[in-house]
């Protein structure tokens, strides 16, 4: 376990690691400060990556909190199955901890295999089961033999690190136990892996038609709207596109090293980035025809979208936005907002890599004032006031901070119900932004109560 964590935190493909000294490299990525933390644990991160696989079952081996408090809380959508709506846990009690829970885990696997007939079962270790030394790897191996069904162990004790590290654990499990275990009957002309797109609120559904039109096959989607089977075929793709997740860059690199599949990082936030990503795919596929098709498709889509955006653009023009989100979104959303005529005053760098930060800086033309390394609710609201910002764009956790500050807000993270990807997504984002910007609510809530008004 220790070894695995070290390997994963010393990711050579992760460029902020390349700049570290040998000493720094031994330290795991960003330690949280006790008493001043935000964000989930490694188990959370592993579950985010794998739970969208809805024709596979997911059993969490541990006491109730890990599953009980997270059940029914993901915005992922799928057409493939419904097992992502199921929360399964061995719900370890005191006796299980004293006598060991491996037997219980095996029986759980049998129960789930029999009742739900999944295509595969992922079993996750958690803090408690990792500490008591439960051997999920042996359980997985034995049960795979017994049931003739792939049982995949996922080492994901929460204490090992942040959500980001958990994403890597999930990638590790896919690489070691899933990818390359089956061969596809046919390989299409332009097969690609889409890594790190979880179809939150249906964002994948917004971009899938673009690929269809271009004749590019999303051969192995990791993992939004994915079947278990297609994950096994990932080694037959010609290209990996990593979306919105530096954490899974390690998986893309491993695929490159072992199977010679090149990779790059793209984004579908904003029309510019969408075009860039599609064009890069065409270039890397080495097809001039594809390039031409991308050119045509994106030109047409941009025209259509700007026509649809017309009523919204005047409302958004010149409005100032504070952005607080993680990873790729911290720069790609800036460009999406810029396209729509808005001005970002600050963007968070909390979960961003060196490269992400470089791109954010590029947006701010080198002015480091635009960077926000840390921000609690109070600080963020202070910035809103200081810069006279019109809109706050952040994750659901900040939604009620914004409401306490009585500022217009759009939720751009996990639990939201609206998808902002591709061309369609830009329109949805514009609608949401204008909805909150023009709401009469903000003026009425700022009106003083009758007893607060002084007469004379």
């Amino acid at each position: 376990m220790r070894l695995a964590i070290q390997q994963l935190t010393e990711e050579p493909g992760c460029d902020h690691n390349q700049k570290k000294t040998a000493e720094q490299k031994k330290e795991a990525c960003k330690k949280p400060t006790p008493g001043a933390t935000a964000g989930g644990c490694a188990f959370d991160g592993a579950q985010i990556v794998l739970l969208p696989v809805a024709d596979a079952a997911h059993i969490i081996h541990g006491p109730i909190t890990c599953c009980g408090q997270s059940y029914n809380n993901r915005g992922t959508r799928t057409h493939v199955g419904n097992l992502h709506q199921y929360g399964m846990t061995t719900d370890m009690n005191e006796l299980d901890i004293v006598f060991g829970g491996e037997k219980k885990l095996k029986e759980s696997v049998r129960y789930v295999a029999g009742k739900f007939k999944p295509k595969a079962i992922f079993i996750y270790s958690t803090c408690v089961t990792a500490m008591t030394g439960e051997d999920i790897h042996t359980v997985a191996k034995e049960m795979t033999e017994e049931l003739g069904m792939q049982i995949i162990p996922v080492d994901s004790p929460g204490f090992s690190g942040s959500k980001n590290l958990g994403n890597k654990f999930a990638g590790h499990a896919l690489f070691n136990h899933v990818i390359g275990t089956r061969e596809p009957e046919n390989v299409p002309m332009f097969p690609i892996n889409l890594i790190g797109e979880y179809n939150i609120a249906g964002e994948l559904f917004q971009v899938e038609p673009l690929f269809e039109e271009l004749g590019i096959t999303l051969f192995s989607k990791m993992t939004g709207n994915a079947t278990y089977e297609e994950l096994c075929y990932a080694h037959r793709s010609k290209l990996s596109v990593v979306i919105c997740s530096r954490a899974l860059i390690s998986l893309a690199r491993q695929l490159d090293e072992k199977y010679g599949i090149p990779y790059f990082e793209g984004s579908f936030y904003g029309m510019g980035e969408t075009k860039k990503t599609l064009m890069k795919i065409a270039e890397m596929m080495g097809s001039d025809l594809l390039k031409k098709k991308v050119e045509e498709l994106t030109a047409r889509k941009e025209k259509e979208t700007f026509e649809k955006l017309a009523p919204y653009l005047p409302i958004m023009k010149g409005k100032k936005v504070l952005v607080y989100t993680g990873g790729v979104k911290s720069w790609s959303i800036l460009k999406q907002l810029e396209e729509m005529g808005m001005e970002v005053i600050k963007s968070s760098t909390r979960k961003s890599t060196e490269e992400d930060i470089a791109r954010i800086l590029e947006y701010f033309e080198g002015n480091e004032d635009g960077l926000m390394p840390k921000g609690d609710g109070k600080t963020l609201l202070k910035y809103m006031k200081e810069y006279d910002a019109d809109l706050f764009l952040a994750g659901g956790r900040n939604m009620y901070n914004a409401m306490k500050g009585q500022v217009p807000f759009v939720d751009v993270n996990q639990e939201r119900h609206f998808a902002f990807a591709g061309y369609e997504g830009s329109l949805v984002l514009a609608q949401k932004i204008c909805g909150t910007l023009t709401s009469p609510v903000f003026s009425i809530v700022k009106k003083p109560a009758p007893w607060e008004v002084s007469f004379g």
Binding site: A28, T33, G39, I64, M88, D91, I97
Partner: protein, 436 residues
């Protein structure tokens, strides 16, 4: 007879870990910081969960136990976490909630806190209340009760009573199943009988939306000074089994007698409370309360046509389950097919149900085949969707409906509103089934 379904795992869990209950209890106290001692996920999941439920800022922190060195166990994360919280947030006190991980590791929290005090005398003025919350034992209500009892036992002052015979001040020990609407109703009734009340903990004030500015610590709940004075009260009222331990502490340490109400939902339970208040104060019930009773009676009469022949199933923590189950079966006359619950405390075993199960939402799904509707939290949405059954939302979490926390489920007013809500569900079914 309580059934335990023989299966090795929990599918679609109903139970929430005890830390969730403990944190909820702390959120009902003024300027406390709940600090979860464990990996950061325990806090992050719970924060997400409660933020969506209350639609409010829910302050809480984690000691972020991280990496192998701390797994072996030392004080550093805990001490650093407490110090950081005090430096940054300056809370009136800290609610220190342990987790399965730190419990399995066998952390000696009391010893560690003593070492903390020795090392950092500058933080002496901020009390730290430790609550053991191993998530492999008990449920959310257990954690809620434990946090309330631990806080009282650390903070109350031994009472020297000077106004013994005024019989004016009453503690309301409010269970986890109560909403802001419920707590408001109780405050009004007790005030109507001329009593002063301390509601402990008071989530209606902190999580009910009345704090209109940004806050880094929960505000307006029961304050530390008020908690200290609870031993001076003349009487305690316990609403819900999970608060009995708190009442016992007040009785044993400060000789405050108490009366326990297992439920205040329905006409009969409300009558019991009002009769008690009349006896205790020697006063008549205020006019508005009488009107509420008359309206509740009328509502039941109007709604009863659609109740007959219906059946339902319910899932929730024991205190929540008992009150609703009792009212719907015994006063509305609706058949209870299955009651699923999470822990063995409270009175739920007395419910007249075909099945009483210690289990999960899969059991609810499997044992509610003839039920016309389901009563449970938002987590039952996927199962109700599959079974095409209406869901009446109660408990934790309710995240897809606005205003749940302001609905009233207790007293005459709650009885009336429930008669309407349940009546509407049944009437809609009748209309649909008659082919209109």
């Amino acid at each position: 007879m309580v059934k335990i379904i023989e299966k090795p795992l929990s599918v679609n869990p109903l139970k929430k870990g005890s830390i969730m209950g403990a944190i909820t209890a702390f959120l009902g106290m003024h300027r406390v910081m709940p600090l979860v001692h464990g990996a950061q996920g325990c806090m992050a999941f719970t924060k997400n969960f409660l933020t969506q439920h209350y639609r409010e800022v829910t302050p809480m922190q984690s000691t972020a136990v991280f990496d192998i060195a701390t797994i072996i166990g030392d004080d550093s994360n805990l001490h650093e976490g407490i110090a950081n919280v005090i430096d940054k947030q300056k809370p009136d006190f800290i609610g220190l909630v342990t987790t399965g991980m730190t419990e399995v590791r066998g952390d000696d929290i009391k010893g560690s806190l003593i070492r903390f005090r020795e090392k950092y005398p500058q933080y002496d003025s901020t009390p730290v209340v430790p609550v053991a919350c191993p998530d492999f034992k008990g449920d959310a209500e257990t954690g809620y009760g434990a946090a309330c009892a631990a806080t009282l036992s650390l903070l109350i002052e031994p009472a020297v009573r000077t106004d013994y015979r005024t019989r004016r001040m009453v503690n309301i020990l409010a269970g986890m199943h109560l909403t802001a609407g419920d707590i408001d109703w109780m405050k009004r009734v007790f005030e109507g009988f001329g009593l002063d009340v301390i509601v402990y903990p008071d989530l209606s004030a902190s999580m009910g939306g009345q704090v209109n500015h940004f806050y880094g610590l929960p505000e307006e709940g029961t304050s530390i000074d008020t908690i200290k004075k609870m031993g001076h009260a003349d009487f305690s009222i316990v609403v819900g089994g999970c608060m009995e331990a708190s009442a016992d502490i007040l009785l044993e340490r400060c000789t405050v007698p108490y009366k326990k109400f297992d439920s205040l939902t329905g006409i009969e339970a409300s009558d019991e409370l009002v009769s008690w208040l009349m006896d205790y104060t020697g006063k008549q019930a205020p006019g508005w309360l009488r009107i509420q009773r008359q309206r509740a009676v009328d509502a039941l009469l109007d709604a009863h046509f659609s109740f007959s022949g219906k059946s339902f199933s319910i899932a929730g923590e024991p205190d929540l389950l008992y009150g609703l189950g009792n009212y719907l079966t015994k006063e509305m006359g609706i058949r209870l097919e299955t009651a699923v619950t999470t822990a063995r405390h409270g009175m739920f075993e007395n419910l007249p149900a075909d099945n009483i199960i210690m289990g999960d939402l899969e059991d609810l799904e499997d044992y509610s085949k003839v039920s016309d509707f389901i009563i449970a939290s938002s987590n039952a949405i996927p199962m109700c969707h599959r079974a095409h059954k209406p869901l009446y939302r109660v408990g934790y979490p309710v995240k897809d409906y606005l205003g749940h926390f302001h609905r009233t489920f207790i007293g005459y007013y709650g009885a009336m509103m429930l008669a309407f809500d349940i009546g509407n569900i049944c009437m809609t079914l009748d209309i649909e089934r008659s082919g209109h």
